[in-house]
């Protein structure tokens, strides 16, 4: 690659970072912190603070009845209910969400005593997720930030002339030309977190843009594979039919899927074919709540057992993208690693901006060429 192209790539790298710098900083900071959002959520909400090791004495049917009775007066009727079961993210509690005119209300019930908990007051978890996934607006800008991050990664690697030689080089300068320190730190962080950044940027960009890119790719492919969502026929329900209790369904789901941790009992009570889905987690690189057992709501018969681990390679691949991006597959230490390395793009954004300003400052000086050499 000749010198002119390298210079142009340097400009693209700078501008790609500069244009989305603030947004990248917000997405990366919120994403890094969001790795621990369940823990932060519990700390911020007294309603969620119950000892996680206490025995569960209240079964899911009793909990559902009590939580439904606690619905706010202005709660809208819902055809699809989702009871959150006590699990590692919500230890010792049942939870049920209601939609009201003022927004969503979350009610919780102590699984040991059966007492209703005080109402949830803090929504830090939702805030962090909304900020990271939608920048408080939509997935599209986050996807654009991800695409710029990909361009930054690619151009950064290309303009870096001595990537292997400098992998341990860090020149600390407290006085004089701090640009060298910024440049070394920028390159060092960029190099050592490169693989992680590629993984985060590719999975994150796809997760953000899939809704927009799916029809484009499908259009280019000629519409060969239509969506496989099944539309179920909804018939009017027959009077006298009663929903089966869900506690035996939960037990059955646990026995059918090895190492299954039930997290939700989701009810679709509309029409003539009501179902109860016992969703949950299985160990490994598998998206949360992706495995499930579906029961007929009226008869209690099993309709489908879906363990992601038993599916084809490509299904497992699809369900691995989210845990790979969010890092919730490996416990505390993996999450801590994601938090630390997840902050790196934010650091790169800041050091990159500082370098850009330093470069602008030095642009009028005769040593411009020399300093540019130091950056590359």
């Amino acid at each position: 690659m000749n010198r002119d192209n390298r210079k142009h790539l340097y400009d693209i790298h700078s501008w790609a970072g500069f244009v989305v710098g603030i947004a990248l900083l917000i997405v990366c900071l919120s994403g890094a912190v969001a790795v621990f959002s369940p823990e932060i959520d519990r700390m911020a909400n007294p309603a969620l603070q119950v000892p996680g090791d206490q025995p569960i004495r209240i079964d899911a049917d009793l909990a559902l009845a009590a939580l439904q009775a606690s619905a706010p007066t202005d709660a809208k009727p819902m055809d699809r209910l989702s009871l959150e079961l006590p699990n590692s993210r919500l230890p010792g509690l049942y939870g049920l969400m209601f939609e009201t005119d003022a927004g969503y209300v979350y009610n919780y019930l102590d699984a040991a005593s059966g007492n209703l908990r005080p109402p949830r007051t803090n929504h830090v978890n939702d805030f962090l997720r909304h900020l990271h996934v939608r920048l408080m607006y939509d997935r599209l800008p986050v996807g654009i930030v991800g695409a710029f991050l990909l361009i930054s990664i690619v151009t950064g690697v290309m303009i870096y002339k001595h990537i292997l030689r400098d992998m341990f080089r860090m020149r600390w300068r407290r006085t004089g030309n701090v640009r060298v320190t910024f440049a070394d730190f920028h390159k060092l962080v960029g190099f050592w977190a490169l693989l992680f950044h590629i993984v985060i940027a590719t999975t994150g960009t796809w997760l953000a843009l899939e809704g927009y890119l799916n029809p484009v790719i499908d259009g280019v492919a000629g519409g060969v594979k239509p969506a496989d969502d099944e539309e179920e026929e909804n018939m009017p329900s027959e009077p006298g039919q009663k929903m089966q209790p869900i506690t035996p369904m939960i037990r059955q789901a646990q026995s059918l899927i090895p190492e299954f941790e039930p997290t939700y009992a989701a009810f679709d009570i509309q029409g003539s074919h009501p179902t109860v889905r016992i969703r949950g987690n299985v160990p490994g690189l598998v998206q949360e709540n992706a495995s499930q057992v579906i029961f007929n709501g009226w008869t209690g018969q099993i309709e489908e057992i879906y363990d992601v681990r038993d599916q084809s390679f490509w299904t497992q691949f699809r369900y691995a993208l989210e845990p790979v991006h969010y890092g919730y597959y490996g416990g505390f230490w993996v999450k801590l690693l994601y938090l630390i390395v997840g902050l790196m793009p934010a650091i790169l954004s800041i050091t990159g901006a500082l370098l850009w300003f330093e470069r602008r400052k030095q642009a009028s000086r005769p040593a411009r060429r020399k300093s540019m050499e130091a950056d590359t």
Binding site: L150, V154, M158, K225, S312
Partner: protein, 83 residues
Amino acid sequence: MNFANRFLAGFFGGTIAALLCAAAVLRSLPAEPKDAMSAAGMTLMLVWPVLIVVAFMTERGWLAWAVIAGVALVAAFLGWGLA
């Protein structure tokens, strides 16, 4: 001019070729639609920046176009020719 040529090759040619690669994966992968779409999406995310790299790394501008056109042709062959 050389840079504009490579920019066109990388960002426009590369985007089209990467989309063709993703579409080829979608057409040819023996998987459920949603699974094939995830694989196609990741192909797009990985091939697209690589083609941008190719556009700027090749010695001459026409070679960048040739490589990207070659990738697009291979994708078209795999996705449509063999299907």
